[in-house]
């Protein structure tokens, strides 16, 4: 009889632990998903601006075809990126391509003075800032989630219930991961 009670007790503790762990991991995973959705919105906004930008520049500099194709390719690559890491890589690629497009635009004073172009330039700078803001939040949530998944005791819940580490939004040679950690208990 005693053994039965001990068994029931152990099972109860294990179940309780699993429930608490599961809830915690789900909460952290939802934060990661929200963080990713924030990045996705900004990436979407950025890709939406590109066709307009290309058309605007083309109106003044129709023969610079190489750079238009490059920007369009980079945009497609970003749209097709499946994972955070590849999206980050594609995003860097798009940044570089847009940079070259702006360098080309330097040679056309009329273009540089056009209202539409200035507006697009401002909007693009704004989305870039917002992507990096969203990235800070997303990477911080990934850091918390991964730490939970990798560390004892949640490790024992995470593996059987199918919680896997998530990717950071960062290109390979990128070290801009969150570095500051705070003791906020004072």
């Amino acid at each position: 009889m005693l053994w039965l009670w001990i068994l029931i007790g152990v099972v109860a503790v294990v179940v309780l632990f699993a429930v608490v762990g599961y809830n915690r991991l789900v909460r952290l995973r939802n934060e990661v998903d929200t963080g990713w959705a924030n990045i996705d919105v900004q990436l979407q906004r950025r890709t939406d601006l590109i066709p307009n930008l290309v058309e605007t520049v083309r109106a003044y500099a129709a023969h610079e075809r190489g750079v238009f194709e490059e920007v369009t390719r980079a945009r497609t690559a970003l749209q097709q990126a499946g994972s955070p890491a590849t999206a980050a890589e594609a995003n860097e690629g798009l940044t570089a391509a847009i940079g070259r497009l702006f360098a080309v635009a330097e040679a056309y004073p009329d273009l540089k003075a056009s209202e539409n172009f200035l507006q697009l330039q401002e909007d693009l700078t704004d989305t870039e800032d917002k992507i990096s803001a969203a990235r800070r939040y997303y990477n911080a949530t990934v850091m918390r989630f991964n730490t939970a998944v990798q560390s004892v005791p949640w490790l024992f819940v995470a593996t059987p219930l199918g919680f896997h580490e998530r990717e950071f939004f960062s290109a390979q040679d990128d070290t801009a991961l969150p570095q500051v950690s705070f003791q906020t208990s004072n």
């Binding site: 909460r27 934060e31 929200t34 963080g35 924030n38 900004q42 704004d126 800032d129 917002k130 803001a133 969203a134 800070r136 939040y137 911080a140 949530t141 918390r144 969150p178 570095q179 500051v180 705070f182 003791q183 906020t184 208990s185 004072n186």
Partner: protein, 318 residues
């Protein structure tokens, strides 16, 4: 503590504060009821509750009026609006708070609102005219983390309850002074009642102040984390400290809201530094806030602040 845990701890603390205040209210009403008349106690309680609900509903516009913050169209302050958007995104807020402008030469900022979706950040024109972008962002991040941590909620609650308690204690005093009603229970109850009416507002004030001081450290740390730049926050604090101007609307009732306490200088100018007055400070000293940041971020502030152009001048604001 993770962020979510902090937020939950804050919610729990809000609940405790609310319960503490309700208890204090009940005790006060009980005292009134005991010392004079049960019906007077009930009237005081109902009146206080009505006042409290009214104050909560009106808190947003009331704070705006007390601090002199005016609504501005987002287009009119586009560059500033963008900074607030970026900071809110980095903080993981679902909605970007509104921006309001306080016409005041003293650099300062605050956040208000019961819920994150209904919150706003108030910024003085003086802040825009003194802070370079990096430090302005840090101040905005500080305010946004107040909103994210639900500090604005907690402090609004505390403020409203403190007001209610002052009101009910006042009713008690007036009843003693002018009350021709039958006084039951003799001298002891009367003395107890007077002591209660005298001390309750201070108890409420102390509770409010101690709450708000802890919040400042948390919000500084939050800002550093949001921007991944603890030095920016420390620089902003140092610049605020060095600025000699004081908020026009400096007032005990809104002192706890601002990023830098607006009343410290007034107090020390008027009455010298009293040991007791430290207890009633809404903010920890700036120096200890800077030290906390230096320790967490592992840096030392330079002697000289960077001489970058102020954000407001750069963008024609403020």
């Amino acid at each position: 503590m993770t962020l979510q845990e902090q937020i939950r701890a804050n919610r729990l603390r809000s609940t405790i504060v609310v319960f503490g205040f309700v208890l204090l209210l009940l005790v006060l009403a009980g005292l009134i009821g005991f010392a004079f008349d049960i019906s007077l106690g009930v009237v005081a309680l109902v009146g206080a509750a009505a006042y409290g609900i009214f104050a909560l509903v009106r808190s947003r516009s009331m704070t705006a009026r007390l601090t002199g913050a005016r609504e501005v169209a987002p287009e009119a302050v586009r560059p500033l609006r963008r900074l607030v958007e970026n900071v809110s995104i980095a903080a993981g807020l679902p909605v970007t708070p509104e921006v309001r402008i306080v016409d005041d030469a003293a650099p300062n900022a605050y956040a208000a609102g019961l819920r994150p979706e209904k919150s706003y950040v108030g910024v003085t024109t003086g802040l825009l005219a003194t802070m370079p972008q990096r430090e302005l962002e840090a101040v905005l991040a500080h305010e946004v983390s107040h909103i994210r941590n639900r500090d604005t909620y907690l402090m609004t609650m505390a403020l409203v309850f403190a007001g209610v308690i002052a009101l009910i204690a006042d009713i008690g005093f007036r009843s003693i002074a002018y009350g021709g009603r039958s006084r039951r229970g003799g001298v002891l109850v009367l003395v107890l009642a007077i002591a209660g009416f005298l001390l309750a507002p201070y108890a409420a004030l102390l509770l409010r102040m101690s709450l708000s001081r802890r919040r400042e450290f948390l919000a500084d740390a939050g800002a550093a984390e949001i921007l991944n730049d603890p030095e920016a926050m420390a620089l902003a604090l140092r610049r605020l400290e060095q600025d000699p101007t004081t908020i026009k609307y400096a007032d005990a009732s809104t002192a706890h809201l601002w990023v830098e306490s607006p009343t410290d200088r007034l107090d020390s100018e008027r009455s010298g530094v009293l040991a007791l007055s430290r207890l009633f400070n809404t903010h920890p000293p700036i120096e200890s806030r800077i030290e906390a940041l230096e320790e967490a971020g592992g840096f030392r502030l330079p002697e000289q602040l960077p001489a970058d152009e102020a954000f407001g001048l750069q963008h024609g604001l403020g």
